[in-house]
């Protein structure tokens, strides 16, 4: 018998006026608006939808919703290729492209199904027991084959052309799920007058009401509920929106899908929007999921969940078979049978229970259904589709029943996924035979099937919805519940022991875990549910075990002879259904991956030939085109300019902090190792601060502009941390100090004018300012108003040359920069970039960058003398720990390359001449450059014992480059040790 689907000419919730064309593996097919991809394919008689993960068994649709384990397709093509999408959740749209996956050469004829024949070898966990030989690394050989078989669909390697967005939301009462319970809750909460948000993953509202016929009273109920809720302006209804996770702080994250509306990325429209919502109360109304029955070959195409069969019939007007077996252990599947029989199908209903209630029996009889009570489905048969089944009625011989469709129901499991996300473990309710949510945390409640409710669901939803509204202070009248609801859950008893089936009986369909695998895991001792899961991969597929977890737990409990209450459930984790990585990333991708920080001079640099480089969040000019085409050579020209004439560079990225107040001097004295109280107005001083543990935290200069007003600079990299640290000390420990700190990094543009001609250059540029040695000696600072803008001039030098730092308000930065360049152009002034800046300081022996790497003490950096002996400062005590004061620490030295044709390399490891070249050596090179002054490659390095080895010849090993270079240890101050240039 083959499957035969009939699209009925009337009924359903499809729009027959609006046909949609789509492509399935190159074939053009057509279906209707209102179809999912699953119903569209079924309407086109596509039943064989994929191959199973491990055994490559033919699979059809099992469900009509998110729990679908089998019907995973690859949607889209090229850069839009999206693997593993359940056809049951994909709303059909015009032009949709899809194909089946995970079979070779095709789903119809899959060679990999050989694994099914060898199934007894490929039992759960087999790979832990083999593939170990013959040699140690042999797994690497086998892994290639295993990996080839892994995965489901295949991913695209191209950048995603679609856009994603994120949004923050706030609401009073958030209701998840629009079934009868959720709608009733939304209606009640909405009427109470608070902000209400209702989420529904489906594109229609109604949840399980949608399984009923459009001709039934349930449809009237659905419509009136929907209309009531839609009429409330304070209720926001979101369709195609899945709550993917519940997090601490009553936060719910959901994703809004817009793909079916064909969003245009060129217009900034997002394919999906990820929303983080902070609610004041959460009402869970996610309903329940139907469980399959466990019997031999229960995975054959043509065996579906009973509710899915009914949904296909009543929502999509699809009758999936003519000779139908309903196999159930509870009441709910009877409705499926009754509705099918009404279409003229031949229906046999096998119920495991000895009896059913009289009214059910009566309606079945009236519908012409053959009912067999106390009857179990033993085993189904068929090759690519179900052909029939063996039924076992208590006390009778097994009977063969031919059929082309089996609708099964193993009972219902409340959808406890989201309710578990915040760590509330579900508990077993043995009256309804399923897990229900654990105790509700404050602010959270549940309505309807998800809560395991046994009462009338509309009344329940109403009560919970109005309760949630009251809990957030809403006082409006929720009104009366909608009366006369026909809806109560048909909960079922736990399934019977079905272990040790002869043909494969699947528990987890996607990951091909059978009852035998569960038994195997038990026998091997993997009997905790968490071990069972990890050993067999049960519940780890894209469906996260929505149809399998409970059945597996029941089986294991039976094997262990324990009750389900004791073994609990495995941990449910977000997301509820898989969510695009793109949606999670939102707009923080590509150039917007992280914010970009630009100095006030940024545009000038770009317009004037700078090559920019990332420095943390900053973009800084690396080198300028006037000096050459690449950093490695351009910096030499730029340095030469500074050493011989005058250059200007952008230093705006330095951290800048105003420290003000009567106790500012005392504060600085505490945070810096050296003295600041004695710093006179009009002077700057270099300072170093330590962390509490005595390790160097940062360095920089601080200038005193008036009695109570200091201007502190930090390194670019540490600016944020230093600022937080200062605030921490002032706000927690030293609250009595009258000090204000304020980051003024964004307030000032900074530029350094450096070189022997710098004074002349600035005299031309700032004619009103006295820059003479007397007025502004080395380390002198002054404030002015020049050309209508406040200007701070600091005579400081990082490069070792006569130099000035000029600060002007950020918005005037470019003006000042251009003015200096213009007015000083007769002196040949040009800009220089970060590479030259960093190299100039190496030549001068200033530590920075990789020397300040959070591992070094003052002494390591040759700064021990700076530490005051007379006052306390942060880090003073712990810097004295024994190992931090040991003599053989790695400390700062200079290196000169002895081989004129060779280069020193960053990251080279240092050895004494007599050392064997292996191990960790005696240190390493932190920073390198070519000195145009010394005409050789030089470096700063950390070396064991530091400058006590001055003059020694050492070896710098870079095995990565196959190089060993000789160098001599020298003072790190390569040029102008006496500081003449500075004072000039």
């Amino acid at each position: 018998m083959t499957l035969g689907t009939t699209r009925l000419s009337i009924g359903g919730r499809i729009n027959r006026e609006r046909a949609l064309a789509f492509r399935f593996e190159g074939r053009s097919l057509s279906a209707y608006q209102g179809d999912t991809l699953a119903s569209a394919l079924l309407a086109n008689d596509v039943h064989l939808i994929g191959r199973s993960f491990k055994y490559h068994r033919p699979r059809g649709f099992m469900s009509s919703g998110v729990e679908e384990p089998n019907a995973l397709l690859t949607l889209g093509s090229g850069a839009r290729r999206t693997p593993n999408v359940p056809a049951t959740t994909a709303e059909l749209y015009e032009g949709l492209i899809c194909e089946r996956q995970n079979a070779w050469p095709s789903v119809e004829f899959d060679l990999m199904s050989i694994t099914g024949r060898l199934a007894s070898v490929f039992e759960a966990g087999f790979y832990y027991k083999t593939f170990m030989g013959p040699r140690r690394g042999s797994w690497m050989f086998y892994e290639r084959f295993i990996r080839r078989a892994a995965g489901l669909g295949s991913a695209t390697h191209l950048a995603d052309p679609d856009r994603y967005d994120t949004r923050h939301a706030f609401t009073d009462v958030l209701i998840i799920g629009s079934g009868p319970a959720g709608l009733a809750a939304a209606r009640a909460a909405g009427r109470s007058g608070c902000r209400v948000t209702l989420l529904e993953q489906d594109f229609l509202l109604g949840g399980s009401l949608l399984t009923a016929s459009t001709e039934s009273p349930d449809e009237d109920l659905r419509r009136s509920l929907e209309a009531d809720v839609a009429s409330l302006p304070n209720v926001e209804i979101l369709r195609r929106t899945t709550a993917i996770g519940v997090y601490d702080g009553l936060t719910v994250v959901w994703v809004e899908r817009r793909e079916s509306a064909r969003p245009d990325p060129a217009k900034g429209e997002a394919r999906e929007i990820l929303v983080t919502c902070r609610a004041r109360a959460i009402v869970h109304a996610e309903g329940a999921l139907e469980r399959p029955l466990i019997f031999g070959n229960n995975d054959l195409p043509g065996i579906l969940l009973a509710s899915a069969v009914r949904t296909y019939l009543n929502r999509y007007a699809l009758r999936l078979g003519k000779h139908i077996l309903i196999a159930t252990n509870n009441d709910s599947a009877w409705a499926t049978g009754i509705d099918l029989a009404a279409t003229g199908a031949r229906v046999t209903l096998a119920d495991e229970r000895p009896t059913a209630n009289a009214s059910l029996l009566e309606s079945a009889r009236r519908a012409g259904i053959e009912v067999r009570m106390a009857t179990q489905l033993g085993q189904a048969r068929g090759t690519r589709a179900v052909r029939g089944a063996w039924l076992r009625t208590e006390g009778a011989a097994a009977q063969w029943l031919a059929c082309d469709l089996i609708a099964m129901s193993g009972g219902w499991s409340p959808t406890v996924h989201l309710t578990s996300h915040t760590g509330v473990r579900p508990v077993y309710d043995n009256i309804i035979g399923a897990m229900v949510p654990g105790p509700w945390p404050a602010g959270v409640s549940g309505a309807g099937a998800v809560a395991g409710a046994r009462e009338d669901l509309l009344a329940h939803g109403h009560k919970v919805g109005s309760g949630a509204a009251r809990s957030v202070g809403a006082s409006g009248d929720a009104g009366d519940p909608i009366p006369g609801s026909p809806w109560t859950m048909g909960w079922a008893q736990p399934v019977q022991n079905r272990a040790k089936a002869r043909s494969k009986a699947f528990v987890d369909f996607q990951n091909d875990v059978t009852t035998n695998d569960v038994v195997l895991a038990y026998e091997e001792g993997y009997e905790s549910l968490e071990h069972l899961k990890r050993y067999t991969t049960l519940g780890m597929g894209t469906d996260q075990g929505k149809t399998s977890n409970l059945a597996a737990a029941q089986l294991m409990a039976e094997l262990r002879g324990s009750d389900l209450g004791a073994s609990g459930a495995t941990t449910y984790r977000p997301p509820y259904t898989p969510v695009s990585v793109g949606a999670l990333a939102g707009r923080s991708i590509g150039a917007h991956f992280r914010p970009t920080r630009r100095t006030p001079l940024h545009d000038w640099h770009v317009a004037n030939g700078a090559t920019m480089i990332e420095a943390g969040p900053w973009l800084r000019p690396w080198f300028y085109a006037w000096a050459g085409g690449e950093a490695a050579t351009a910096y030499l020209a730029e340095m030469k300019l500074v050493r011989g004439g005058v250059g200007i560079s952008d230093t705006s990225s330095l951290g800048k902090i105003d420290v003000q107040g009567p106790d500012a001097a005392e504060f600085l004295d505490r945070i810096y190792v050296n003295h600041f109280a004695s710093l006179p107005v009009g002077k700057a001083r270099y300072g170093v601060m330590l962390n509490d543990d005595g390790i160097v935290l940062d360095d920089g200069t601080t200038s005193r502009f008036s009695e109570f007003c200091y201007f502190l600079t930090t390194t670019t990299a540490q600016a944020g941390e230093v600022m937080s640290r200062l605030e921490f000390l002032l706000q927690t420990a030293w609250t009595d100090l009258r000090v204000q700190v304020l980051s003024v990094t964004d307030r000032w543009a900074g530029m350094s004018v450096a070189g022997p001609l710098s004074r002349r250059a600035l005299t031309l540029a700032l004619p009103g300012i006295d820059l003479s040695n007397e007025a502004l000696p080395h380390m002198g600072v002054s404030e002015h108003v020049s050309d209508g803008m406040p200007v701070r001039v600091l005579r400081l030098s990082f490069s070792g040359e006569l130099a000035y730092e000029i600060y002007v308000p950020a918005d005037r930065g470019t003006a000042m920069w251009e003015m200096i360049l213009k007015r000083a152009s007769p002196l040949g002034i040009k800009p220089y970039g970060l590479e030259a800046l960093a190299s100039l300081r190496i030549e001068k022996g200033h530590v920075a960058g990789l020397e300040l790497d959070h591992r070094n003490t003052l002494a390591d950096l040759g700064l021990a003398k700076m530490a005051s002996q007379k006052k306390a400062f942060v880090g003073r005590e712990l810097k004295e720990r024994a190992e931090l004061t040991a003599p053989e620490r790695w400390s700062l030295v200079g290196l000169e390359c002895l081989d004129t044709t060779a280069r020193l390399r960053g990251g080279a490891i240092l050895f004494a001449k007599e050392d064997p070249i292996r191990g960790h050596g005696r240190g390493y090179i932190t920073s390198v450059m070519y000195s145009t002054v010394l005409k050789k490659s030089i470096a700063l390095a950390l070396y064991r014992g530091g400058l006590t080895h001055r003059g020694e010849e050492i070896v710098c090993a870079s095995p990565l480059r196959g190089e060993q270079v000789r160098a001599r240890i020298v003072s790190p101050m390569f040029i102008d040790a006496s500081g003449e240039r500075l004072h000039g």
Partner: protein, 200 residues
């Protein structure tokens, strides 16, 4: 000489951008030339500072979520001991500096340190909530409400100046980055870029 330049100078000249269906639901732009002062109060100096600024600024606000508005000036209490004064006469800084006793508090000009953006239109709130995790429901965030919060990983200050009009004070060095994400978020709604508005 010494001309002031905006961080967005070369970027806000784009022509107005159309939204999905040619809609332009939003107006986005920059308010240039804002004067911005920060008043800091030292431990124990609150009473003296409040008294000193009273004639110039009026009473300092208690609220740290709502700006005080008077004579074209906005005063926001941005921390327990810090206030922002937005707008005001050119000599305000000097007069405040003179008025506030040096042992009690201090004044720092942040002119140029923040880029003041605005976004106006019915969709403004929706656009902002794509970037900002603050509840902008009018019942909760009224006109002259303000919030210091993060936008695309960076802190800034959001101020509501009228129904459907908000301003955002972005750190100047991040301003272009903020501007870009703001436009990016606004695109599906359609926006047009306003010519620079001067405001003191």
């Amino acid at each position: 000489m010494g001309e002031s330049r905006s961080a967005l100078e070369n970027y806000r000249t784009h022509p107005g951008m159309d939204g999905a269906d040619g809609r332009r639901l939003l107006k986005i732009g920059e308010l240039a030339g804002t004067s911005l002062l920060q008043v800091g109060v030292y431990t124990g100096g609150a009473v003296r500072v409040a008294a000193a600024v009273l004639p110039l600024l009026g009473e300092l606000p208690d609220s740290s979520v709502r700006a005080a508005v008077a004579s074209g000036r906005l005063i926001m209490r941005i921390a327990a001991d810090q206030y922002w004064v937005v707008g005001g006469a050119a000599d305000l800084a000097a007069r405040l500096r003179e008025a506030i006793p040096a042992e009690a508090g201090c004044i720092t000009s942040l002119e140029g340190a923040r880029t003041r953006l605005f976004i106006e239109g019915q969709a403004a709130r929706a656009v902002l909530n794509r970037l900002i995790a603050v509840d902008l429901d009018p019942a909760i965030f009224p006109v002259h409400g303000f919030a210091q919060t993060g936008i695309h990983h960076v802190g800034g200050l959001l101020l509501k100046v009228a129904e459907d009009r908000y301003e955002f004070f972005a750190l100047r060095t991040f301003a272009l980055s903020t501007w870009e994400v703001l436009l990016d978020a606004a695109r599906p709604f359609g926006y047009q870029i306003a010519l620079p508005e001067n405001k003191t």
